[in-house]
Amino acid sequence: MKRILLVDDEPHVIRILKLSLIKAGYEVAEAANGIQAINNISQSHPDVLITDIDMPRMNGKELCMHIEKTLPERDFMIFVLTARADNEHRVWTRSINNLEFLEKPVSIRKLLARLHEHFTDLAQNEEEACLTAQSTQ
């Protein structure tokens, strides 16, 4: 089962997302701010990180930067959800690999679809890699 880490300071958001994601068959962990998220990640990498930006203590941008610095070989996808759509955020989100920017209000259906797409692609890539590895042998 794929593990998703949800980071948001709004309890309602966490609740509804958690509900929907669990229903879709994912395992969900939660954090209320960046620092809690880092703690969680250090224990075990999630498959996908979904985070808000505006959070106390350490916000989403700082969290991503931290992850970039400390885990350069990160293999999990990051989805940044935010109500802030100003240029500044588009700029920094574009500069990091494996990071997607999603604007609030988020449609749960679309999010689930996107996740599904991501994991499907991931699976396909893994298959191809295996096949290539096999063929070279």
């Binding site: 300071d9 509900l19 929907s20 229903k23 935010t82 109500a83 609030k104 209000p105 749960i108 259906r109």
Partner: protein, 670 residues
């Protein structure tokens, strides 16, 4: 005065007003002139006719030369008197001389015996001797006469006939003198006669005649006199010419003064050309007068000039002080692109001194190539008007300061279509940028705050639409969440609207006489009801009489509500919230105290900023937008009051709204 020249009248002297003179110097005839001026023609002619003119001229000339004439008269009189005395002296002298001679000679001749005298040769010898000895000019004749008076022998001056006259018989009269008149030329002769004796007997007489000296010049003297007079007469013209030559400079000066007079004034007519020294003085005086007038005029002009210069320099210094006082830095480029004028703010903005940049093109003194390029590209030349663009830059010395450069064409004051240069204004837009940033930040905050509940609503409603919608439990949960979020959203929007309106000044403060006691009681009770679930102790401490105030009831209620709801929100269960009012002579203080989680010192500075919420977990776990306090403060400040905070984390917080009683709010109310 006028003189006639045919039919025309020309003016000569300046005694008459120029206007009259000019009226006359038309080609109207004198008759017409008189008719025009209502003057009797005959009287006019009499007064101003030629004869009267020359007489008048003559009389005035005499008047001018009074002194000279008197001197001449006096010297003439003296000369005449002297000459008279001289002549009479001469005559007397001559007479005396003659008398002496005649008498002596007669006496001598008397002693000579008669016979000797009758001999002609003796007589001739005698006569010649006598003639040589005596004063010849006066000698008229010498005659020897007998008793009967017949002339025996004589010798005379040329052309003289001895007058016939008998010698008196009386012996006492034999020796004597008498006056006779010569018949030939009517000259008087002084005759001396003496008897001639021969042996004691009178035989005859000797008659000796001398010319009486005349008064004046005798014929003999004339040549001598003429000899003296000739050189004098010859000298006189010489002296005259010499004097005239000496006086020529004066004549010359006179002429020059004439010219000066003519030059100095327009309306003065010419004076008659007179070499007289008096005229010279008069004219000189006139020159002085007209020069003084001119000086007076020049002085007036000069003082006007000084006044106008002072006025100009005052205006200029006023404009200069405006220029220097402008908050922006101003630079003017002339048509060639060189700096022609700056104000002193340029030095702080660009970091250059005025001497270094005046007269030079920007490329020479500006260290920032972007600025140089911008200025050069935006110069207004001739008819090309610079584009209305602005550029922003910051300097390394002041990295937080942003300056905008705006070029404008400078139009000539007199000719609106002519461009004479470029005006460049350096405007400090740091504050503007800050304000824009704040606005952008506010909008960003606002968007975020609005989108957050919206997001929750979206997700829950989406879920309701899906499978979860059939779940009763989920439906109830969703309904509650949606309801709460909508309330939150409504509150947020109201707060935002209120605070924005207050900041923009578009809220009308509806000041009415308010009984604070009632208002506070009301608010307190409302809040107490909603906070009851939290098991908080509510206390109200109001004095019985509070001075009436003039406030906007609804706004103040919002403010007090915000304070009370904060107190409730940030108190733990079992805490307490107290609302107090204190009144002094100068102020009224409303205080909201709680025993809640308190506010950290760092946060206390920021809690009145819009959307600020402390990072503190215990704060964050409570919902809030961060607008309650800013709004309350704005409202209180709108009523000329202040909102302050005392807090210690973990112990509690007190918010105090303080209103000065000296303000209108209170004066209006009472």
């Amino acid at each position: 005065m006028f003189s006639f020249e045919g039919q025309h009248i020309t003016s000569e002297f300046t005694q008459v007003q120029p206007s009259t003179a000019q009226a006359a110097i038309t080609s109207s005839s004198p008759v017409d002139f008189c008719r025009y001026r209502d003057v009797d023609w005959r009287q006019f002619k009499h007064d101003f006719g030629p004869k009267t003119m020359s007489t008048n001229r003559f009389l005035s000339a005499i008047k001018n030369e009074r002194l000279g004439l008197m001197m001449i008269l006096a010297s003439l009189i003296v000369i005449m008197v002297t000459v008279f005395l001289l002549f009479s002296y001469q005559q007397k002298n001559g007479e005396t001389h003659i008398r002496e001679q005649g008498a002596n000679l007669a006496r001598i001749l008397t002693s000579i015996p008669f016979e000797q005298l009758t001999s002609s040769s003796n007589i001739n010898r005698l006569f010649s001797v006598l003639q040589h000895n005596s004063d010849n000019t006066a000698f008229a004749y010498l005659a020897i006469a007998d008793i009967h008076g017949e002339i025996l022998s004589e010798t005379t001056s040329p052309g003289i006939i001895v007058p016939t006259a008998t010698v008196p018989n009386k012996p006492s009269a034999w020796l004597g003198e008498r006056k006779l008149t010569l018949p030939s030329n009517e000259r008087n002769v002084q005759e001396f006669h003496a008897p001639l004796f021969d042996n004691g007997e009178i035989k005859g007489h000797v008659r000796l005649g001398y010319f009486s000296p005349v008064f004046g010049l005798s014929k003999n003297q004339i040549p001598l006199f003429a000899t003296f007079a000739l050189p004098i007469f010859l000298l006189t013209p010489l002296f005259y010419f010499l004097i005239r030559r000496e006086l020529r400079p004066i004549v010359h000066v006179n002429n020059q003064l004439d010219e000066l007079i003519e030059m100095s004034t327009d309306s003065k007519a010419r004076l008659t050309n007179n070499d007289n020294l008096h005229d010279l003085m008069t004219r000189f005086n006139q020159i002085i007068i007209s020069t003084q007038q001119r000086i007076g005029e020049l002085e007036t002009d000069r003082s006007k000039l000084v006044t106008s210069t002072k006025l100009l320099s005052y205006k200029r210094s006023r404009i200069e002080s405006i220029l220097q006082s402008l908050p922006d830095a101003v630079m003017m480029l002339d048509e060639s692109g060189s700096v022609s004028l700056i104000n002193n703010k340029i030095c702080t903005v660009l970091g250059v001194s005025s001497e270094n940049i005046i007269g030079k093109k920007p490329a020479e003194w500006c260290s920032n190539p972007e600025i140089v390029t911008f200025i050069t590209n935006h110069e207004c030349k001739m008819t090309r008007v610079c584009q209305a663009e602005s550029m922003e830059f910051t300097t390394p010395e002041f990295p937080d300061r942003t300056i905008s450069i705006s070029p404008y064409p400078l139009f000539s004051h007199s000719n609106n279509s002519q461009i004479i240069g470029t005006l460049i204004i350096f405007h400090d837009i740091t504050a503007e940028k800050l304000s824009i940033n704040r606005s952008s930040e506010f909008v960003a905050h606002l968007a975020h705050e609005l989108k957050t509940p919206l997001n929750t609503l979206a997700m829950y409603s989406e879920s309701l639409q899906g499978e979860d919608g059939s779940n009763e439990e989920f439906r109830i949960e969703a309904a509650n969440v949606i309801h709460d979020e909508v309330e939150r959203l409504a509150l947020l929007i109201n707060n935002i609207l209120s605070i924005t309106k207050i900041e923009m000044g578009s809220i009308g403060v509806d000041r009415k006489r308010v009984k604070l006691r009632e208002l506070l009681q009301d608010a307190f009770e409302t809040c107490a009801r909603s906070g009851q679930e939290k098991n908080i102790d509510f206390r109200l401490d109001l004095p019985r009489d509070i001075s009436p105030v003039a406030m906007d009831k609804s706004l103040i209620r919002i403010a007090i509500n915000n304070l009370l709801s904060n107190a409730i929100k940030y108190s733990d269960p079992g805490g307490s919230v107290t609302l107090t009012v204190e009144e002094t002579d100068h102020s009224i203080r409303i205080s909201v105290r709680d025993k809640g989680i308190g506010i950290a010192l760092d946060d206390q500075k920021k809690i009145f900023e819009k959307f600020y919420r402390s990072d503190n977990d215990s704060v964050r776990e409570r919902e809030g937008h961060g607008l309650g306090l800013p709004l309350a403060r704005e409202i209180i400040q709108l009523h000329h009051g202040t909102l302050s905070v005392n807090s210690k984390p973990g112990e509690g917080t007190e918010f105090i709204a303080s209103f000065n009683k000296e303000t209108e709010f209170f004066k209006q109310a009472s």
